[in-house]
């Protein structure tokens, strides 16, 4: 379990990083290294050079800017978890982050690393998709933005160009009528999910005015279950609307088979999560 030999540069600017990304045969950015280092150790990748972005202070920090919360790509999971800003402004993220790995991994793993790795069972890409976050990326033409909902393409595949670096994520700040739900099913706490669900809803009384249901671990990428959402939007949660939403998941999800579950079981579990989270949100409204 020793990696292939590689070169290493700790860059001091985004421009330097982009130049290296363009020049090298097989460059690879390293952030927290929590996913990349095991990949290297198992010789599943053979980069010619690691570009360590750890020294770029522009990629750090968590900051409220008007109605978005900007999370730097290098923000560690542990920072996000401890952040009062996150807890207040993006409660869905606050709920999700404790499911990401374990303390040792959270101390080094970064927000940007998790987003760029694009593991279909990861929590943070799903949260960004559910909330309609926006990613700031830097490349040879300078800064541009990519909506989270267009960012995740397939297993470990994103819309990032080979010479681009994720700089930050902008997550919309929650408004009073929004409700959130999060649940995942994993064999052990901290494992990648077998299936998970991140929910954003805007309620009008007991009616679901808006509903974003992002499933992870249920398709090759985090997906918004739009058919399921449509079955509930504009209505109250009843046995019928709930059942209609669950039935619609067949059209929304493309579950894969692995050691933990086959496609059918994944679909079943997705339905269980959907019922539970919708019931939680609707239940709270009824109490008010």
């Amino acid at each position: 379990m020793k990696p292939y030999p590689f070169e290493y540069t700790r860059v001091s600017s985004l421009e330097e990083a982009v130049t290296l990304l363009q020049r090298e045969d097989e460059p690879r950015i390293i952030a927290g290294g929590q996913s990349l280092v095991p990949i290297l150790a198992m010789r599943l990748a053979a980069p010619s050079r690691l570009i360590d972005i750890g020294g770029l202070s522009a990629l750090r920090g968590i900051e409220r800017r008007g109605d978005v919360l900007r999370i730097g790509a290098l923000a560690r999971h542990a920072e996000v978890m401890a952040s009062a800003e996150v807890a207040e402004a993006v409660p869905l993220l606050a709920r999700a982050i404790s499911h990401v790995a374990h303390p040792a991994v959270r101390n080094r793993g970064t927000f940007g690393g998790s987003v760029c790795l694009a593991d279909p069972a990861a929590e943070l890409p799903a949260v960004c998709t559910a909330l309609g976050a926006t990613f700031e990326v830097f490349g040879s033409d300078g800064l541009r933005t990519i909506p989270a909902r267009e960012f995740f393409l397939d297993i470990y595949e994103t819309a990032l160009a080979p010479d681009e670096i994720l700089v930050a994520a902008q997550l919309p700040v929650a408004c009073p009528k929004e409700r959130f739900g999060f649940e995942e099913i994993a064999r052990r706490h901290g494992d990648f999910a077998i299936v998970g669900l991140a929910v954003r809803a805007r309620m009008e009384g007991t009616l679901f005015a808006e509903l974003d249901l992002c499933f992870f671990g249920a398709s090759p990428r985090p997906v918004l279950a739009q058919n399921a959402a449509r079955a509930v939007i504009g209505q109250e949660l009843t046995d019928e609307t709930q059942q209609a939403a669950v039935s619609a998941l067949t059209a929304d999800l493309d579950p894969q088979e692995d050691a933990q579950a086959d496609a059918e079981m994944r679909l079943h579990l997705a339905g269980v999560l959907l019922k539970r989270r919708l019931a939680e949100i609707a239940g709270k409204e009824r109490q008010q």
């Binding site: 379990m1 020793k2 990696p3 292939y4 030999p5 198992m42 010789r43 374990h102 099913i185 064999r187 052990r188 706490h189 901290g190 494992d191 990648f192 077998i194 059942q243 050691a259 933990q260 579950a261 086959d262 079981m265 079943h268 579990l269 269980v272 019922k275 539970r276 019931a279």
Partner: protein, 798 residues
Amino acid sequence: MSKQILRAPIGQSAPRERARRFATGRGRYTDDAASLRGLHAAFVRSPIARGDILEIDCDAARDMDGVVAVLTHADIAGRYRPWRAGNALLPEMKAPEQHALPPSRVNYVGEPLAMVVATSRALAEDAAEQVFADIDPLDAVADIETALAPDSPLIHEDCGSNLCVSLTSGNGKFGADFEDADLVIEDTLDFGRHTACPLETRSMLAEYDPGSEVLTLRISHQCPHQLQAELAKILGLGQHRLRVISEDVGGAYGLKQQLYQEDVLVCLAAMQTGRPVRFVADRLEAFASDNHAREHRVSARIAVRKDGRITGFELDDLFPIGAYPQYPRTSLGEGNHVLRMSAAGYDIADFRSRLRLLFQNKALIGHYRSVGHPVACAITEHMVDRAAAALGLAPETIRLRNFLSDDSYPRETPTGVHLHYLSQHACLDRLLADMDIAALRSEQAKLRGQGICRGIGIASFVELTGTGNGFYGPGGIDVSGQDGCTLKMEPSGHVRCMPSVTDQGQGTDTGIAQIVASVLGLEVADIRVLSGDSEITPHGGGAWASRGISTGGEAAWQAAQTLREQLLLVAGHLHQRDPATLELTEGHVVDASGAQITTISEVAHICYFRHDLLPDDMPTELMVTRHAVPRAQLFQATNGIQAAYVEVDTDTGFTRLLGHWVVHDGGTLINPKLVEEQIRGGVVQGLGAALLEEIRYDEDGQLLTATMADYLVPMASDVPDIQVSHVTSGTAEGALGAKGVGEAGVAGASGAVLNAVNDALGPFGATVRQMPISPRTVLTALRAAAASATTPPFEDAP
């Protein structure tokens, strides 16, 4: 009620001596040992389960920078003796020849094909990728069902079949109808393949000194003397020129108990290159090449009368052991314990069992903590619960009616196991009190009304510990059932203690020191224990069958008694007292009134330096060795019982552990805290077996679980509180009366969880018959029950 008056520090929860070093980062694991001009090994391993080796091209690898040697079968043939794992007591058992590197055929994924030795592990891995093995693939035997089919390929053509051995036991006729039965229930359980997953992987460092012709192997191992004996035979060295050192070992659990090809290969490479050669398995190769354990398919039948009496029990164990039996102990142990220890705590008139060991194109099955007992426990307790359910009896009621009565010993089981004493009833009574069974049941009933599905499971077990020389020695296998202890009192009165038993984290060293300190009237800190070095410690078993204290402690006790007598003899002479009236206490020699006469250090000093004060014929040796071996009982049979309380989410299939209880009879407790740590640690491994752990291969024998992300072990957050209680019967052989405790936690944990989950699923008519009990297993069982019932258990979630 022990035979001797045992005084402190016996019975005290002294902290584990080595823990201080570990906690401060000063452990001395094998890979911590520096080596001058040391080399590193990497192995080319078979990527396929079965095939013929056409060619292994090493030219490119040999030319690489930093590569010192590349070895294949052709390079080492004739320089060592291949081995066969058989037992002379079972001449019908097939023991195919095993090689350090295969001459012509590979038989499992991960089998070493070639060894690369280079100046760093990274370079060795680079070169290993440049070794090109041309293997003609053959159909693999990977399925338990088809291994015995007439058209199945033969893994070992010279064996004539894939059946390694078939054995039966018991007092009834296998396969015959039960005579005295109102009801006979049949069922089959599948047990997943495990591996022990020690934190420290297999590690070794071999060094050969041609000057003195001494080979030193530092290795993470639990039986250094056994390895010394085996390597001497295989390498053609005198046992006195082979030194095996296992200093700190980061967990062993039976996985580091046998001989592996790599052990032989690092020695051969060190002898060939004249340089130290190190190998530390990485986790990928650990999963592929470490011993696995526990894969069993056990079918059983239980016969009961309406009054709840169990009148007959029959079981049939299919046990696929991998490509070869494990050397030197063979792979029989697991199956043998299923064959002979199932239902051992029950009074059953007609018991029969059959065991068949199958060859498969998979890694070898060896021993894993509690060898076979968890399987014996689970199948027994599952069948007993099924009988109870069929008769409408509570699980504890059927057990009370059928357990061997606590006053019926000594006795023999139908499988010929001598039971000196068991406390089945006392343990059950204690368990029911500890868990407050009535309160738990009413909580369970109340929650069921709210749609929360909880289960309570009980599992009792009988375990063989501290095994003597009954099976290995007479079978021609040089595994010691005897253990020894050397004590050397220094002129200062401090003691160096060299036991043959070894410590891989159990705290054996500390327990031994407590025993020696107790006899000599010293403190634990006055005793320095040096275990794990075959050059200085007496030849003995090391760590197996929970022998550290039950056997090793007995040897230490005997040695300390002899040393004590010697000290008292000299002190008596010096002070004109009858030695029989003297005692050693708090570093002093005291008289019957407790008055201090002299210090132990003064007596020791005189024994070394002042022979002018002593008569010529007075013995003055302060170095003693004693050995202990279970003779009358051959082993110490122990017993215990466990209970699990679980919650099953019937929508997702997930099982959550809420509580776990253990009551165990370990005889005298030398160090209660260490005993409880042992039991808790074992329970956690059993919980892993119940819910999480499984080595999986596909139908072609390809390994599917090669990382810790695929092979799931329990983490702290998955484990409930584990309450441990003791029943102490001082009935063990020997002066101390201590029985083995190291494996009891594993023995009953998985069976208890299985029964708890099935208790939870009872109202749905569902039964799980497979471990680990994954969410998928539970959902499948619920679905099957729903399909055969009128009311669906998948009540649509709220």
